[in-house]
Symmetry: C2
Subunit: 326 residues, 2 copies
């Protein structure tokens, strides 16, 4: 997928508000979880936006649902296409089903069988390709050409960014003020949408992006003031291995979001701690946000901090090894 | 602990109502969880009472809290004592702390360190003893004699039974009618309390007790019409290895509760399925209730079924092995 194609129109906060109205009949308003003992451990007041309890198990449903319900009828009739072997693929498949739209997902050979089964269970058609970015993009382009299907990029699509911004919008409504808000960053769809909501609704709230130390190209991009794209991710956070999109970088750089990183060991420890205290399993890609809070106590001491827990889709066969390794 | 001592007064539904009022300032009204995909898998409408989200991670806090706040001031000043290396010990410790009551917990040598740490973290004093029932009972008796501390038995104490009945009371309030209600059974505190609430509030609802096949002495007791006590439990459900109490047997036999059993493999599979669909980790001792639903589809087809998920306290070091074994 060419991530500049969709970047011609920057989404705005009005688009987040429109997305909230558009997805309301379909998406969950997820709960905000609290834990006295986690507050005590962190030395601050933590409000966890529980997107692992969103439909299809991740915030991705918000953006996918907004994209699907933004389509005009003629476009919807031709279907949508994306490439993803993870949460976006499942989210788009489920969102498409809410409107009876055909959904095509290009998936690389070697993807986790359980994830592909989930995408198929939501009614999407899988199209296998070689495990390279070029092959994935070619697969999408072919389906676009062949079927007239609409491309819904996982994080550079303005409709997706606007949809992702609704999670922070809901969270910010639950308290008069947050000192800080933390979201994980991968491609930057959630991060950019969150920046829109923070800027419009709570400009005094500091926005932090949590990034795995083994895939910290957003950190490097922000430092350098331009997008870094040549890196090889090495992290257990499988949802955060992608490269920050161009439109996403522009929005986050303009907002002045700060990046905090955490190593995988701290992320898995945070995931395990969160489980022990709340009985919830979140993905490593979510737990990195708690890890950066625990790793930077001076930044958050005594403050009210919002944390978006992005998803809970852990490969069932991977969990034992994940927890055993700590 | 002598489980006939406390059996002189059978608790009644009025005691459950009194308990509900007594614990309201301290206990959570836990949410009722639903899952479309679990309903589809089970072929019925499942309503999960999420006691793994109760304070201290299990329904046990209800009974412990009711016992603590039932004490007169003079008794409270002398403290409470119990023996438990599991959820009841932690629950009593936390409940005692809500009233500033001293709490003594007799624990056997060899108990899981993480569990003992949790009991201590809630402010209780640990008293170690040899790992036999006789040693535990002697330890309790000594503290009762020495300090005048009040014994709070984990499941035969009428105050505890009444407190546990509040979970079903809350669940039954959420729908006009339930066809069936399922609770796990070990010592029978929750089961007996639930029977009181069902009989008073929803007598047409069938009450099922879920029991591990490897500790199915309640099943045997119900079949025989008298309490079976000579058995050696062999199950992964560590909260359900105890023997049904005498008072508990009487109440459950009188109610006509039916027992359904599940093997450990099915229980762990149910625990894993519940995690995948809801991102929640419940104990094997809770998952056995879902396992009996899945194992007896004809009994529940198309019905509205309440399930009390009793707790979520899994030893962090045990989870990998538990899931790896399936």
């Amino acid at each position: 997928m060419n991530d500049t194609a969709a970047a011609s129109v920057l989404p705005a906060f009005d688009d987040v508000l429109a997305a909230a109205a558009r997805i309301a009949p379909h998406a969950h308003v997820t709960p905000v979880l609290r834990s006295r003992s986690l507050d005590a451990s962190a030395g601050c007041e933590l409000h966890f936006k529980a997107e692992h309890l969103q439909r299809a198990g991740a915030f991705k449903f918000r953006g996918a649902c907004n994209a699907i319900w933004s389509l005009d009828d003629a476009t919807a009739a031709r279907g949508v296409v994306t490439h993803s072997s993870g949460n976006h693929g499942a989210a788009l498949a489920l969102a498409a089903r809410t409107r009876g739209v055909a959904c095509h997902v290009v998936v690389p050979e070697g993807a986790v069988a359980a994830k592909l089964a989930a995408i198929e269970a939501y009614g999407a058609t899988l199209h296998r390709c070689a495990p390279t970015i070029a092959a994935r993009e070619a697969g999408c382009a072919q389906l676009q050409a062949q079927l007239g299907a609409e491309l819904v990029h996982p994080y550079t699509d303005p409709r997706v960014i606007a949809g992702q911004g609704t999670a922070a919008l809901e969270l910010l409504c639950t308290q008069a003020h947050f000192d800080a808000l933390i979201v994980p960053v991968g491609g930057g769809g959630l991060a950019a949408g969150t920046a829109l909501s923070v800027a419009a609704r709570s400009p005094a709230t500091r926005l932090y992006l949590a990034e795995p130390a083994g895939a910290a190209e957003t950190f490097a991009s922000m430092q350098r003031g331009e997008r870094v794209t040549d890196f090889t991710p090495d992290t257990v956070c499988d949802g955060l291995r992608g490269t920050l999109g161009a439109i996403n970088f522009s929005m986050l750089h303009a907002h002045g979001a700060q990046v905090l990183t955490a190593g995988d060991a701290d992320t898995v420890a945070a995931m395990r701690l969160f489980w022990q205290r709340t009985k919830q399993i979140v993905e490593p890609s979510s737990a990195v946000a708690l890890a950066v809070v625990l790793g930077n106590p001076a930044l958050f001491a005594g403050q009210r901090v919002g944390v978006v827990l992005t998803g809970g889709n852990v490969d069932p066969d991977a969990l034992p090894a994940l927890f055993a390794s700590t």
